[in-house]
């Protein structure tokens, strides 16, 4: 009897725990699909990032190293793209164009690089200009160190805020107990630099002894989604947790997002990392996912093409292979919806200047979401 009572208590406790976040963890399937995904660029194994040029062409980073331009229905390879360290999750990663691209022509690329003395690689940011079929004026703006032969957590996404600062992310490079909580080390950080690579004089750690002064926020695991919230100007990120504990965060100057001291996730082997999900001086996520969806890519819907989605956030799921639409109210997720199920791992999603949403699906290519009329 005693045994069965304690069993009952355990079961009830378990139920309580699992209910705690149910509202947020339940993903709904829409009654009516209001769009058709149209495969506009096929035959791309892993299109990691995309950038939309004023002439209507799309630049695509293929993880294995090719920089591709898609123009008037044709793909061509752009020469002189950065040499990558092809290892694990590394490769040719994100791409973005300058906020003032029309006048200065700068393109920014994140990638894993072997540059430096030590064996292995780490994340780098380059800027360059497109001249015909080639990149020119290539300049490395940042190269994280030291190199490592680990295959994990290079990040990386690039975004600009309203003041024109360049933000990029680097994951913890598989060294969670070494990098994320130490501001004198690269990895597990969101960085802020000027677009020429110099360090803004009001960055949070410019006066801290030995700090990497490009750091803007720390305690991240592996952010692979980053977007400016067009309504507030804030920089939003999503990041992979371990098993469980993926997060959405709004990055704040000098703030600590807690990895690996606090997390809603556990080790892949099922053992706990920490029993803490909160700690003074560390930020709670705006949202977290248990189980993990493995988020990648992120965009806000602001265009009039999808009236019922206005203000929503779209995020790709690598693990469950769908596009997630999240409705927000006062910086809280109030509704989650599953779109584009079962096409493949979704790597990137962007609202382009033409107002349409473009989605990169691994093993397939790039889809344009065409609203149904």
């Amino acid at each position: 009897m005693k045994n069965s009572i304690s069993f009952l208590v355990l079961v009830l406790l378990g139920l309580n725990l699992s209910c705690a976040q149910q509202g947020e963890n339940e993903v709904s399937t829409p009654d009516k699909i209001t769009f058709t995904p149209q495969l506009i660029i096929d035959d791309l194994p892993i299109a990691w990032g995309m950038a939309f040029l004023p002439d209507g062409s799309i630049l695509i980073t293929e993880k294995s190293g090719d920089l591709i331009r898609f123009k008037d229905g044709n793909k061509s390879i752009i020469n002189n793209s950065p040499t990558i360290y092809n290892r694990g999750q590394g490769g040719l990663l994100d791409i973005a164009i300058d906020p003032d691209y029309k006048n200065n022509g700068w393109i920014y690329i994140s990638y894993s690089s072997e540059e430096g003395e030590d064996k292995g690689g780490n994340t780098a940011i380059m800027r360059a200009k497109l001249n015909g079929n080639s990149l020119t004026n290539n300049e490395v703006l940042y190269k994280a160190s030291p190199n490592s032969t680990k295959g994990q957590h290079f990040g990386s996404r690039i975004e600009f805020d309203n003041d024109g600062y360049l933000y990029f992310s680097i994951g913890d490079r598989g060294d969670r107990d070494v990098n994320p909580q130490d501001i004198t080390k690269d990895g597990g950080k969101v960085y802020r630099i000027n677009r020429d690579g110099s360090i803004p004089s009001d960055n949070p750690f410019v006066n801290s002894e030995g700090a990497k002064t490009a750091i803007y926020s720390y305690g991240h695991r592996n952010p692979q989604g980053m977007v400016k919230n067009p309504y507030t100007g804030d920089i939003w990120t999503n990041e992979h947790g371990p098993q469980g504990g993926d997060e959405i965060n709004i990055v704040g100057k000098g703030k600590n997002y807690g990895w690996p001291v606090i997390t809603y996730g556990i080790n892949y082997s099922g053992t706990p990392i920490t029993d803490q999900t909160k700690k003074k001086g560390m930020e709670d996520p705006l949202h977290y996912w248990v189980p993990s969806i493995a988020p990648s890519g992120m965009t806000f819907v602001t265009s009039d093409k999808y009236p019922s989605w206005k203000g929503s956030l779209l995020i790709g799921s690598l693990k469950f292979q769908y596009l997630e639409r999240l409705e927000l109210k006062n910086n809280k997720v109030v509704y989650r919806e599953k779109l584009m199920p079962d096409l493949g791992r979704i790597r990137d999603v962007k609202q382009a200047p033409d107002g349409f949403i473009y989605v990169s699906v691994e093993g397939k290519g790039i889809y344009k979401l065409v609203p149904k009329i």
Partner: protein
């Protein structure tokens, strides 16, 4: 007498060869376990069971156990397109992970000797180096 000594010595040599091969395999498997948790675990999971219809299982995978060369090729150069594993069709992408031949041999030895899998022969870096892209 001579015969006995010769037999004895050759038996000893065979045994040492055997044992040192065993030892080498054991060490390769150990290194392979580290490679696995660095490069493979996010998709194929710690128990090697994968995710049905998305990431194929390695534990008791008929594909892995019957197609040694194809499996090595997939890990070396990436694997894309339709494959059938334990009766279930997968049509997905595994990227090339940039492992060197020794690392691939190690991780093959690990997955061929874990979760109840029993590999026949030891995979060597030489075997991996001979496998070319198709």
């Amino acid at each position: 007498m001579k015969f006995i000594i010769i037999t004895y010595i050759s038996a000893l040599i065979t045994l040492t060869l055997f044992l040192s091969q065993d030892k080498a395999l054991e060490e390769s498997i150990k290194r392979g376990a580290d490679i696995y948790s660095d490069f493979c675990v996010t998709c194929h999971l710690p128990n090697g069971k994968g995710v049905e219809k998305t990431f194929p299982p390695l534990a008791k995978s008929d594909y892995l156990l019957k197609n040694r060369e194809e499996s090595i090729r997939g890990i070396k150069f990436g694997q894309q397109g339709e494959i059938v594993v334990n009766g279930i069709t997968y049509n997905n992408t595994m990227p090339a992970m940039g492992l060197d031949d020794e690392e691939i041999a190690d991780v093959m030895n690990y997955i061929l000797n874990s979760w109840g899998n029993k590999g026949k022969d030891f995979v060597t870096p030489e075997e991996v180096s001979k496998i070319q892209k198709k």
